[in-house]
Symmetry: C2
């Protein structure tokens, strides 16, 4: 099979042996595979794939058709449309995925949307609900509302009855983010727009101190992105006054059982919203697998709203 | 009535009008009232009492007998032995307490122990279980194991099946803390003794960075004491790697319904352990109400294990 391949700090498309489905796994012919920030890090030699995942083939999410089943795999049949988060290896013509990580693709999603759905919606859902405990009527602040996880979090928060505010640095993207259901504000002085019950931090430590200021009593800050910096000063007295919580998390390093549990929550709580049209997957551009390098460059250039998706 | 009174940065014992029980409240003749760190802050004009509590009479906890009941107060009868956390005003001959905040005094506790029980056991129980989610089999680190909350947390953690480690700075107190059921270590280099599922921070920000190092995957740091400093650098990348949580809290500022819920949890989960002898309240010294200033000085001097309790 052909696959995007990380070598010497660049993305190449090379031949690899076809993978085979092991016990409990499905072999999937990949139709679409979104690009994510972690792929950018991995291309530069940071954020290596976890053990058991292909080390040189990037790609944290995929959608496609089941073409073969390993021993004991019974949740799906050959030909079923499936999608999943994977530890790596999604940007290839074929990928093996444990059946407990697979979720069905709703009719409402075409291949590009399905390929760009799993990572950002799983990440956003896990962050604002499982980590942040967001409930109806609460106020959610999304830092970095124009990004993939940001747009997913805004829509999920709205669909769950929360009031959503989002910071967006690029003025050209603010109207599009507002159309997803958020009150859009500038990053500067965001704390004045609080208090917020849940703050989703996708930018990094520079926001840390003001996030505590912006927090409601018993509010929760969920940190899942630190591109703008990892270290910041924390004032514990202020956090005590808010009776506040800071949670930091990543999806990629979790064991199979947790990833599978996350997939089940997505099936139960998110797929019905996709099918009803309450959620949509903005896709900014699609590229063929052979154009992977150009797709990565497009992702890195920013200034877009929506996913960049490879179509092998 | 006579009451300890804060005036001009000192503690005096002065006459005050007798309080009267309002709707849902009980008037309690105070037999014992523990001294806590917050009283020290309040004496110096910091940490004022919340609205609705006496502003000039210190005392966050008390034990005594019900002597009168306000309209609609039915949980206790005149003569019952009760104890409670209060927003202030505990260090007096009489105090009014809402009946939902009162809990019965088990036979196993004499007055000094009952007067020193509510604050530290409520605080420790709320911190390690309600905030920290400590479960059987997990590893608990208590920073400041020789203090009142620390000794309560060690005993509660042990009684709940956790493995407990405690830092103790004063070498003279280490054996006594170990006798409560903890593995006692020096504060320096504590992270090498990890990983810990729950870290109870009673000291402050200087431990923050090493607490993250000491954390187990999905571990929780619960900050309720910051005497050694409020501000510290937090490395969010390390916290993400641990999928860790930092929670900071105070009991005193919470509304009645939360304090009442906390009192119910104490009744259900802690009083049986007191009655069975699994928990004890170390009392270092008792003082008469007229000796309040000396009692405060004794508290501030440190170097003790156990509560300082006033006996009005």
């Amino acid at each position: 099979m052909r696959a995007a391949t990380i070598r010497d700090g660049g993305i190449h498309v090379e031949d690899h042996p076809d993978p085979a489905a092991g016990a409990g796994e499905a072999l999937v012919r990949v139709r679409a595979a979104g690009i994510n920030g972690a792929d950018m890090l991995q291309r530069r030699g940071r954020y290596p794939a976890p053990p058991g995942s292909p080390q040189d083939i990037p790609g944290l999410e995929l959608a496609g058709e089941v073409v073969a089943l390993g021993d004991g795999a019974t949740r799906f049949a050959v030909g079923d449309r499936v999608m999943a988060i994977v530890g790596g290896g999604g940007q290839a013509e074929l990928a093996v995925v444990h059946e407990r990580q697979l979720i069905p693709v709703p009719d409402a999603l075409d291949w590009p949307a399905a390929g760009g759905f799993p990572e950002v919606f799983t990440t956003a859902h896990d962050a604002i609900f499982s980590q942040g405990g967001l409930r109806a009527g609460e106020r959610l602040l999304v830092h970095g509302g124009a990004g993939g996880v940001g747009t997913a979090a805004i829509q999920l928060g709205r669909a769950a009855g929360a009031r959503v505010t989002a910071t967006v640095r690029n003025p050209d993207l603010r109207d599009q983010v507002a159309a997803l259901g958020a009150t859009v504000i500038e990053p500067e002085g965001f704390a004045e727009h609080g208090p917020f019950d849940v703050v989703l931090e996708l930018v990094g430590a520079p926001n840390l101190d003001a996030n505590v200021d912006a927090l409601a009593i018993e509010g929760r800050i969920v940190v899942i992105g630190i591109g703008a910096g990892a270290k910041g000063e924390l004032n514990l007295a202020k956090l005590m006054g808010k009776r506040g919580t800071i949670r930091a998390s990543t999806l990629r390093a979790r064991p199979l059982e947790e990833k599978a549990a996350t997939a089940r929550r997505l099936e139960r709580h998110v797929l019905p919203l996709v099918q009803s049209g309450a959620l949509r997957v903005p896709v900014a551009a699609t590229f063929g697998l052979d154009e992977a390098e150009a797709a990565y460059d497009r992702f890195a250039a920013g200034g877009k709203l929506g996913k960049i998706v490879l179509l092998p």
